[in-house]
């Protein structure tokens, strides 16, 4: 079955999805709390949308479709407040962050349960590590061709979003030394990575997708774990590299940055995207994951080496007129402060050393999510 036709949506409208951690307030480990929380939330109308995830210790929320940063931020804050009030009534902690810093439960299960051991021997450590939490941003596109153009033009900016959202330094109780260790878990899956370099929607759909479908490996777009992928039924492209930030304010700012970038790219004043842009892609991506804002990236068109922090600041400056047009200058200001003040990952590390334990760090992340 070929993909459905690319739905038309209003250009530059946007929406945010966030995967959030549900944490026990006793030991700060992940807690299977989503059924109870969803029951409570379903009693009243919810701003936006909330859905369960396969793991009961995860909850996914998404905003409505917006065209402006202000209403998006307001809605995300309203969602946050509703969630927090519900979680308080049920003694559940809720926080952002791309990984939970320690997950003894999975270790214990593997240690004690023969059946889990079989599963784990099939998937190896992937199975153990795949409980990760991301932010997805959708951008509305007028056509499939526009979507593919944006998708490939954005490849140069992927490291920006990785570094600005990075909030997963700890994995399985240890400092991974990565700013975003979460992406390593995603990248390990076979259908992850980048989309093939195609700029024509018909060719993408009728040739590439049709062939892939015949191989039997994939059945729908959902089987691709690409960093950015088209979502034809919504008429959007979906950026998937961001860790869930520790605050919804950061999440909204990241979405606004992406919106401004897309407005800029759609003016088509930059050099057109090319397959060769991807020569530096994986290495830049690694630099962003590993070193965050301090990573060194190689620009795809000039092969110039620049500090990611400088590249982001320069791009933020370039985006100012677009942000003005889109009423999102406050979002860019937020990100500029983040570039100077350090990422969420840096903040988490400092909490670890202040609080003296990973539990203390999770507790701090819970307070930060609440806006305390």
């Amino acid at each position: 079955m070929p993909l459905e036709p690319f739905a038309q949506s209003e250009t530059l409208t946007f929406g945010v999805e966030l995967e959030l951690q549900l944490v026990s307030l006793s030991d700060f480990d992940l807690a299977a709390a989503s059924p109870d929380l969803l029951h409570l939330l379903n009693r009243k109308p919810f701003p936006g949308n909330v859905t369960p995830e396969i793991t009961e210790s995860m909850i996914e929320i998404n905003s409505s479709v917006h065209s402006r940063y202000g209403p998006l931020l307001a809605q995300l804050q309203e969602i946050r407040d509703t969630l927090v009030a519900g979680a308080d009534r049920l003694n559940i902690g809720m926080c952002g962050g791309g990984t939970h810093p320690f997950q003894h439960w999975s270790e214990r299960k593997i240690f004690e349960k023969p059946r889990f051991q079989e599963l784990s021997s099939l998937y190896g450590y992937l199975a153990k590590q795949f409980t990760v939490f991301g932010q997805h941003v959708h951008i509305g596109c007028a056509s499939g061709d526009d979507a593919l153009f944006l998708l490939h033009s954005l490849s140069r900016y992927i490291p920006h979003f990785i570094a600005l959202s990075a909030s997963s330094p700890y994995v399985q109780g240890h400092d991974s030394l990565f700013e975003s260790a979460r992406l390593n878990s995603v990248f390990a899956f076979p259908m992850s990575g980048r989309a093939p370099f195609l700029l024509n929607w018909r060719e993408f759909n009728e040739v590439f997708f049709a062939k892939m479908e015949r191989t039997g490996i994939i059945r729908s777009m959902k089987d691709f774990y690409w960093d950015i992928r088209p979502k034809p039924e919504y008429g959007t492209i979906e950026l998937r590299v961001c860790d869930t930030p520790l605050t919804v304010e950061r999440a909204a700012a990241l979405a606004a940055y992406l919106q401004a970038l897309c407005r800029h790219l759609l003016e088509r004043r930059e050099a057109a995207p090319a397959e060769d842009d991807y020569l530096v892609y994986n290495y830049n991506r690694f630099q962003a994951c590993r070193f965050g804002l301090d990573g060194m990236v190689t620009l795809p068109k000039t092969y110039q080496n620049v500090l990611l922090r400088d590249d982001i600041l320069a791009t933020l400056k370039l985006m100012e007129p677009h942000a003005e047009a889109l009423e999102s200058t406050a979002a860019l200001r937020h990100l500029r402060q983040a570039v100077h003040g350090g990422s969420d990952a840096t903040w988490l590390r400092s909490q670890y050393s202040d609080e003296g334990s990973p539990e203390g760090m999770v507790h701090a992340a819970i307070r930060r999510f609440r806006g305390e």
Partner: protein, 396 residues
């Protein structure tokens, strides 16, 4: 060379623990029922008054070990209690008060109606309020359950146990001072003792985490230091006549709020906790005399029934208001059924203080025996029906 009888007597406890552990492991594997139910059964069967394999319970080292085992469990329970939750969700506190006070009243009137003396009925009623923290913590850990029923059973069990300790000591105070006609000092004595116990536990809760911080590398050292601290705390409370229950709970609560790593690997206090749990449940059941259990008869059954109904109702009525479904509310109430170790240790220590009233409380012995075996099964089922225990744990 010591004679054979001495050798056998000396061996009785190690053998009993081995048997109980084996029964627990095989029983759990074959039936999917909780291990502690089997520990209790073995302890009861081997008790001095039944098969006579175990010596009669006394204030010896086994009672001290049982106290430490219970202290460890109470500490862990305290560590899992979020006091602030009762404030952010006042309906939870209301349901806790309703089920505990409701149980007190219902059991008291039932006992009096069945011809029990007033003071005995009061004592029975105060003991019946409590939900065995040991059983709750044990089953929650064994099932690795998580969810609202789990959380609420833990919180309500801590709450009603404290209420029970308070009420029991109050009644005990009356009992002791009744002869001296000094009731005010009974109340005062109880309140002061409990407060002192809480303060002592809280001091431990500040000092021990501070020491751990100094040591650094908490993941490795936490379990041992906490265990040692609890042994110390329990011993201090008993030599000074304070409440080990209140102190150990307060210790756990305080340590929790100091946010010191007490990681999941150390749930149940690891191997030490596992071992002492076997001993605790065997000991508790071995102190029960089948004659008293049998004599408890009708009253015991009535108390078990009334308690089950009132606790379930008390929690269910406020379920929606406190943010959960009727179903989960009812299951929470049901899961509050277990009585065991807690009551036995309270009685045993009352006996050590020279209060001979075990005979008059034989109904409680029967209640305890019934629920020592069935309590764990009921709470295990409640957690499974609430879908809070992972599927593969049911009979694995």
């Amino acid at each position: 060379m010591p004679d054979l009888l001495t050798i056998l007597t000396n061996l009785s406890w190690p053998v009993a623990i081995t048997l109980a552990w084996l029964a627990g492991e095989f029983g759990q594997r074959l039936t999917g029922l909780p291990r502690i139910s089997f520990y209790g059964l073995v302890g009861f069967v081997l008790a001095s008054t039944q098969l006579g394999a175990l010596p009669p319970p006394d204030a010896g080292p086994i009672l001290a070990l049982a106290d430490v085992a219970f202290g460890l469990i109470l500490f862990e329970l305290g560590y899992r209690i979020n006091v602030r939750w009762f404030a952010t969700n006042p309906w939870l506190a209301v349901s806790g008060l309703a089920e505990a006070l409701g149980t007190f009243a219902a059991v008291y009137f039932t006992a009096v109606a069945l011809g029990t003396q007033q003071l005995t009925a009061l004592m029975l009623a105060s003991l019946a309020m409590s939900t065995s923290p040991a059983t709750v913590v044990r089953i929650v850990n064994e099932q690795r359950s998580s969810g609202q029923v789990t959380e609420r059973v833990l919180h309500l069990s801590a709450f009603n146990s404290l209420l029970a300790v308070f009420a029991f000591n109050l009644v005990l105070g009356f009992w002791i001072f009744h002869t001296a006609n000094n009731l005010t000092s009974a109340v005062l004595d109880t309140v002061v003792r409990l407060l002192l116990s809480v303060v002592l536990g809280a001091v431990f809760g500040v000092v021990v985490p501070a020491m751990l911080r100094q040591l650094g590398n908490m993941a490795h050292d936490a379990t041992v230091l906490f265990a040692i601290a609890i042994i110390l705390l329990v011993s201090i409370t008993f030599t000074s006549g304070l409440s080990a229950v209140a102190a150990a709970l307060a210790f756990g609560l305080m340590a929790r709020h100091r946010r010191v790593a007490f990681s999941q690997a150390q749930r149940n206090f690891g191997v030490l906790g596992e071992l002492l749990t076997v001993l605790l449940f065997v000991y508790a059941a071995s102190s029960l005399d089948w004659r008293k259990v049998a004599a408890g008869g009708v009253l015991a059954l009535a108390v078990v029934g009334v308690r089950l109904v009132v606790k379930t109702l008390g929690v269910t009525v406020f379920a929606r208001l406190s943010g959960i479904t009727w179903r989960k509310g009812a299951l929470t109430g049901l899961a509050l059924t277990p009585v065991s170790v807690f009551v036995i240790l309270l009685l045993e220590h009352a006996r050590q203080r020279g209060v001979v009233m075990l005979d008059e409380l034989r109904a409680m012995a029967a209640v305890t025996m019934l629920l020592e075996v069935f309590g764990p099964i009921i709470i295990q089922r409640a957690l499974i029906w609430a879908r809070e225990a992972p599927e593969q744990n049911h009979a694995a």
